[in-house]
Structures are given as structure tokens and as C-alpha cells.
């Protein structure tokens, strides 16, 4: 019988381990090399409150995970290599799972200034956008419903979301923080014609707009 040397044992174990890993996990995201360096922030997937502009964020964040451990609602989640590439380990908030309730705890634990301390009403994570064709209030003639859910749940109701004379909601973009509570609790997906589509989504804000706000914050502090 042939002797099984240690070197071979190492080779076989390492090889089988790596093969097992790579065959078991879904690497379809890795096939497109652009996903490795393209920012994974998109509709309804936002940075935590107080974040510096997206171009700067991954450079400043050291992926220490303190914001996620502090968050009492566990709404801050993290990218991994498969979905984030070089952005792996950076925090995000998926407002469709758990929206941000603006408790502003994470902002005070960031050690590198990726999240800049600011007040509740200064947060600009994104901007809520109402799809008027899916909103049941905007389609009153068709649906016969008058829904005010997004108005009721908004932490800045009457400032960020307003109601016009026909009880239809609209967004004041200057004051919208993008916390996503409205998108999370929108009931339009229950309406049969919408096929599970929500009427409100949160779009990440144009980075330059945030930059202006954040620079002022930094100067203040």
C-alpha cells in the first residue's frame, strides 16, 4: 500500500475544502465583474442615516459593524463579497424588510466619520417616490379607496408628506428623510391589480445634494 504523506494530505484536504465551498455557493453574482466595484446601493437599499456621499462611503467605512450592533431594530444589514465586491462589510438598510426608525444611535458610534452625527430632520438617506398609477388614493375613481397610511406613519407627517384637497398624498422632497417607513407600510401591494407592487419606493438621493448638506454638518462640528 502506498504511503500517504502529509503534504498530500494537506493538498487533498485544502483542495476538497475549496472545491466544496465554490461548488456549494451561488456565484452567479460574481460572473459580472462590474458588480465587484459598482455600488450595490439602489432603490430601497440605502445607506444608514448620516452617511457621507456614496463615493466617499466605502473609503471611510472600516467595516467594524458597530452601527449594526447598536441598532435596536436590527434594520442595518451588511453586504458580503458575493453581493458587494469591494463594498463587502459596508452597512445598508433594506427598507422593505425593516425601515429605519430614525433613533439616531448608529450615528454616534461610527469611529471613522462614515456616518456623521446629525439631527433627525437633517437625515437624507433617500427620497420617497410615489407611483401614482399604483397608489390607491391617486386612483380613487378606479379603486374607490381613500388610504392615508403613508401620511399617518411618516415621522414628519404634514412636513415631508402632505395631503392635497382630494386626499391624495404627495412628497415634499426637501424635507423627506428617506427613512422608508411609508414604503414599508404602504398597502398598495394588497390591491389585486398591483400584483404585489408597492406604491412608494425610496430612491437614493443624488450624491451631490447630500454632499452639500454633510459638508455644512462637518463644518459645524
Amino acid at each position: 500500500m502506498r504511503k500517504f504523506t502529509r503534504r498530500e494530505a494537506i493538498k487533498v484536504t485544502l483542495g476538497s475544502f475549496l472545491a466544496g465551498i465554490f461548488s456549494s455557493c451561488d456565484l452567479s453574482d460574481l460572473k459580472n465583474p462590474k458588480t465587484m466595484i459598482k455600488t450595490p446601493i439602489k432603490t430601497n437599499i440605502l445607506r444608514p442615516p448620516g452617511a457621507v456621499p456614496e463615493e466617499e462611503f466605502a473609503k471611510k467605512c472600516i467595516r467594524c459593524g458597530r452601527c449594526g450592533e447598536v441598532c435596536p431594530y436590527h434594520c442595518i444589514k451588511y453586504f458580503d463579497v458575493k453581493s458587494g465586491g469591494v463594498f463587502s462589510g459596508t452597512p445598508y438598510i433594506n427598507v422593505m424588510e425593516v425601515p429605519c426608525y430614525l433613533c439616531m444611535k448608529c450615528v454616534y458610534v461610527c469611529p471613522t466619520g462614515a456616518l456623521v452625527p446629525c439631527d433627525k430632520d437633517e437625515v437624507r438617506m433617500g427620497v420617497a417616490v410615489i407611483n401614482r398609477e399604483a397608489c390607491v388614493s391617486w386612483q380613487q375613481e378606479k379603486t374607490g379607496l381613500m388610504c392615508k397610511t403613508c401620511f399617518n406613519v411618516c415621522p414628519f407627517a404634514g412636513i415631508a408628506i402632505k395631503i392635497d384637497h382630494d386626499f391624495r398624498p404627495y412628497i415634499v422632497e426637501e424635507y423627506c428623510t428617506g427613512c422608508g417607513i411609508c414604503a414599508y407600510s404602504c398597502i398598495a401591494d394588497q390591491y389585486p391589480e398591483n400584483n404585489g407592487k408597492k406604491a412608494i419606493t425610496i430612491e437614493p438621493v443624488k450624491w451631490k445634494k447630500i454632499k452639500k448638506v454633510k459638508l455644512e454638518d462637518i463644518k459645524k462640528s
Partner: protein, 301 residues
């Protein structure tokens, strides 16, 4: 074996520095692994983060290499980062690469695997080094690491540093009940231990290189007493970093003050000393002792 009673065994092991080192490693590991579970269950949040950045109450600790990388890529000095880097830099400045050998979770895990392998066969535990590379590689690793970071524009070590990944996987498991692929890196580092003891720590850890560079003129060193040495070379076989204290390498940059050699030395020729010739002078030499020292130097030369 049977001659010693259980109590005597414990007493003799308590006298060894390495027992305490393993105890500290174990408690640091427990804090790192257990903390996210505690935070998740009871919402305490007194301690947050892991070895990339650690927050105990209001005390902030930021790992020096990660802090340096963010400063280099973001080109922005944030006060909290620099304040957080004070404690580890001071620790490295006074005690050398003590984080690696006394706190790092990877060191704990490789210590554990060494012990398990030691059960299988004693040869594996005290093996001679299979692959030895020039130890200078670690500086090139540090330089390439920083260069790649600057070229890509995103900090690299922050998402694949093995000591950070251990804490991160624990946190991921506690909070989201998932374990990401990055755990491969930790397992690979542990596998590399089969090539040489602490293969990754010795040659390829940029964080270790940073700490070694900071602690080049450290105060706590392992002193080698030539008069007491009986040339048994026990320390050379035991050193996890592949340093030979028997030819006076114990005070070099590559030593990480783990005290393996201090414990094995049968004649106590090696011992921890607070270096008086370093930057901070705690004792003032009187003229007589300094004269003696110079005499010795001349005679040895």
C-alpha cells in the same frame, strides 16, 4: 506522570506565563464571540464591534492599519479615528506585537488547533518548520497592501483581515443567522498552520507588520542571558515565529513577546525585562553599573 498530583499540576501550570496567555486569549475570544449574542438578546450595547474597531462605553479603539487605510483613501483626518488609534499604538509602542500573541482570536484558534494536533501526534506539535521563508517578506506585504489600497481606492484589509472576520462572522450569525463566504479566509489561515506554525502571522499579516514596525524600539523585551544558557536549543524548537532566541534574536522586530521560550527554558536564561535602553528610561543608571556594562561590551567584542 503519576508522581504529580492534580493540585501540583495546576500549581506548576499557574507559574507559567503561557497559561496566563492562553487564559487571556480565551477571555478575549469569548468577549469577541459572545458579545454580539449578548447584544442581540438583551440589547446591552455596552461593548460594540470587534478588533477592527472596539467600543467599550466611551473608550474607542481603532486598529492602526485600518485607521491608516481609511485616512489614506478618504484623505480626511477624522478626530475620532485618531483618538481611537491611541490605545493600540501605545500598547504596541511599549509592549511590541502583544496584540498578536495575547489577544488575537486567530492566535487563539491556531493555539487550539495546535493542541488538537498535539493530541494526534506529539511530532506535529513540536515539529521542525517545514517551510521557512525570509522573514523580511512581512515588510513587502505591508507595502503592497498599502499600495493596492491606494491604487484601487478602497481599503482592502478592512474586509479580509482574519481577526476581524472572526468577530464579524459571530456577529452575522448572532444577528442575521447567516455565515458568509469570507469565513474561507479564516479557515485557510488555520490550514496554512500545517505548512509552518503561524505561517500567515509570520509572513503575510500586514497588521502584524504595522504593530511590529511601531514596536521596533519597544520597552518589554525577552532578554537572553548568555551565562545561564546551556545550548539545549529548546527555545528554538518552541518559538512559533521561528526565531532563534539562542543566538540572541529574541529582541528583534519579529518577536511577538508570547513567552513560549521563557517557559521552556530549563535554566531561565530567557526572561521578560523592561528595557532601560529604550526610549523611556524608568531607572537612572549610576555610573558604576554603566561602567560595568561598557566593560562587558568591550570584552564580548
Amino acid at each position: 506522570m503519576k508522581g504529580k498530583s492534580f493540585l501540583e499540576k495546576i500549581r506548576s501550570s499557574l507559574g507559567k506565563i503561557n497559561t496566563w496567555r492562553f487564559f487571556i486569549l480565551f477571555s478575549a475570544f469569548v468577549v469577541i464571540i459572545g458579545n454580539p449574542f449578548v447584544n442581540y438578546k438583551w440589547d446591552i450595547n455596552f461593548i460594540q464591534g470587534w478588533f477592527q474597531s472596539f467600543g467599550i462605553g466611551n473608550l474607542w479603539i481603532v486598529s492602526p492599519l485600518e485607521g491608516l487605510e481609511t485616512i489614506l483613501t478618504a484623505k480626511f483626518l477624522y478626530t475620532a479615528t485618531i483618538v481611537g488609534m491611541v490605545v493600540p499604538v501605545l500598547l504596541a509602542f511599549l509592549l511590541g506585537r502583544v496584540f498578536c500573541s495575547w489577544l488575537c482570536p486567530i492566535e487563539f484558534l491556531s493555539n487550539l488547533t495546535d493542541r488538537v494536533l498535539g493530541f494526534l501526534s506529539k511530532k506535529l506539535r513540536y515539529r521542525k518548520d517545514l517551510i521557512t521563508l525570509p522573514r523580511r517578506i512581512i515588510w513587502f506585504v505591508l507595502i503592497t497592501e498599502l499600495l493596492i489600497t491606494l491604487i484601487i481606492g478602497y481599503p482592502m484589509f478592512v474586509w479580509w483581515s482574519p481577526p476581524g472576520l472572526v468577530g464579524r462572522e459571530a456577529m452575522f450569525y448572532a444577528f442575521y443567522k447567516v455565515i458568509t463566504i469570507e469565513i474561507v479566509i479564516v479557515v485557510a489561515v488555520l490550514f496554512f498552520n500545517l505548512l509552518t506554525r503561524r505561517f500567515f502571522c509570520r509572513y503575510f499579516c500586514p497588521l502584524g507588520a504595522t504593530l511590529a514596525l511601531i514596536g521596533k524600539k519597544r520597552q518589554l523585551v525577552i532578554k537572553y542571558d548568555k551565562d545561564k544558557c546551556i545550548n539545549c536549543k529548546a527555545c528554538d524548537t518552541k518559538c512559533p515565529m521561528g526565531i532563534k532566541p539562542s543566538i540572541g534574536e529574541s529582541q528583534s522586530v519579529y518577536c511577538w513577546n508570547c513567552a513560549e521560550c521563557v517557559d521552556t527554558c530549563p535554566t531561565k536564561a530567557l526572561s521578560f525585562t523592561w528595557n532601560d535602553d529604550g526610549i523611556i528610561k524608568l531607572k537612572v543608571h549610576n555610573s558604576l553599573t554603566s561602567m560595568k556594562n561598557t566593560d562587558k561590551l568591550i570584552t564580548t567584542k
